[in-house]
């Protein structure tokens, strides 16, 4: 009797196995139909002031050489030798800071890809959710190479391939080209997006550095143009001195 049941269940088990395999080979977000079932990350968001990365969090734990670089930078700042960073010259911040600028971001989901349009410095990120891997030897860029997948209602994004021109946030907090950033995007409420960002770097950090940021949805906003070079009167010299250009020129 039992053997009979087993025999009759066998086709069902095979079907289940096939279905599971199909689900694994077709990642969530790979078709418009599957995007429709995902949480509504699509939309315009702005990082909220207070809390998250803007609040006091645990500082990154730097390895000795990177801690020394930070101390050197802070000492030069205290002596008044370093006043500002490259963003004053309109150089975009790169990851991770570009995600927490005081300007909105817009998240778009299309089959196999999540795009983040970043108003500040007119930047964008593309996160491949089609199952591809990182390139074996990625180019080193400001925003890195991102792949993502869904774990239930959470979008998990893994990013590698960073130029060392950028900082981890504050000036002097540097990282190596081995930096890896894992972000977990989750809707805490329909109009509140929370992103947990974990940074690892075998050369610069002794342990992973995790921080939370929160974003509020703005359904009535649209992205605006941000061409930093349009009328940038701030500048930083190569040795970190800042200044301002007060020469009047008619714009219109």
């Amino acid at each position: 009797m039992l053997r009979h049941y087993c025999r009759s269940l066998a086709p069902l088990a095979a079907l289940l196995a096939a279905t599971t395999a199909a689900a694994q080979s077709s990642p969530q977000g790979d078709t418009w139909e599957s995007i429709a079932k995902l949480p509504e990350l699509v939309g315009l968001w702005e990082v909220t002031f207070g809390g998250g990365p803007r609040g006091a969090g645990e500082p990154p734990a730097f390895t000795a050489p990177y801690a020394a670089r930070l101390q050197e930078y802070q000492a030069a700042t205290a002596r008044g030798e370093i006043e500002d960073g490259p963003a004053a010259n309109c150089v975009p911040n790169g990851m991770p800071s570009i995600m927490t600028q005081p300007y909105p971001i817009e998240i778009l989901l299309t089959p196999g890809k999540v795009s983040i349009l970043i108003e500040a410095y007119s930047q964008w990120r593309q996160i491949f959710t089609d199952g591809r891997e990182h390139p074996e030897d990625p180019d080193l860029t400001f925003n890195g190479h991102s792949i993502g997948h869904w774990e239930g209602d959470t979008l998990v994004v893994d990013t590698v391939g960073f130029t060392t021109d950028t900082s981890l946030g504050g000036g002097g907090m540097r990282h190596s080209d081995k930096m890896r950033i894992v972000e977990r995007f989750r809707l805490a409420a329909p109009d509140r997006l929370e992103v947990e960002t974990t940074i690892t770097d075998p050369e610069a950090l002794t342990k992973p550095w995790t921080r939370m940021s929160a974003y509020a949805r703005h359904r009535d906003w649209t992205l605006a143009e941000y061409v930093c070079q349009q009328n940038n009167r701030n500048f930083t010299t190569d040795d970190g001195k800042s200044g301002i250009n007060l020469e009047f020129e008619v714009q219109q």
């Binding site: 803007r54 005081p102 930093c228 701030n234 800042s242 219109q252």
Partner: protein, 147 residues
């Protein structure tokens, strides 16, 4: 530049007032955020953030540009000479979502401003707030009309 017709209905005025109050509240929070996160575009090291300076002048041009708006005003000095001051403000993207427009200041407008001046002593600074010819106040950031 052509000034767009300003609707002076009670509702529009009320909305404008709400936008400005909201703008000032957000402005205070934003200032805290910006000054603690200097990498947002630039640090405030060139400005003397401990000294507020009042100026009264005539608008030459209001530049609704990124990464900052710039308000240029001619200020008449005690000896009758004129000095052109350049005042940095928040971006059009930021201010445009908080009640401002490219027509907030028009050439020829006589305005009063409160600024944080440049440490260098040059005629420039960063704008805190301004009083328009009709007596209403706009807040760039910092302390609003209520505070």
């Amino acid at each position: 530049m052509i000034r767009t017709t300003t609707v002076r209905s009670g509702r529009a005025r009320a909305l404008r007032h709400v936008a400005m109050v909201l703008g000032s509240v957000i402005g205070i929070l934003a200032l805290a955020a910006w000054t603690s996160r200097a990498e947002a575009h630039h640090s405030f090291s060139v400005f003397d953030m401990t000294t507020s300076k009042d100026l009264e002048g005539e608008v030459v041009e209001f530049q609704w540009t990124n990464p900052h708006t710039w308000t240029w005003i001619d200020v008449t000095n005690a000896d009758g000479s004129k000095t052109r001051w350049g005042l940095e403000g928040m971006s059009p993207n930021y201010l445009g979502r908080r009640g401002w427009s490219k027509n907030t200041f028009m050439p020829g407008d006589k305005i009063k401003v409160v600024i944080w001046p440049l440490k260098s002593g040059e005629p420039g600074g960063t704008l805190q707030r301004a009083t328009l010819p009709d007596g209403s106040e706009v807040v760039n950031f910092g302390r609003g009309p209520a505070g």
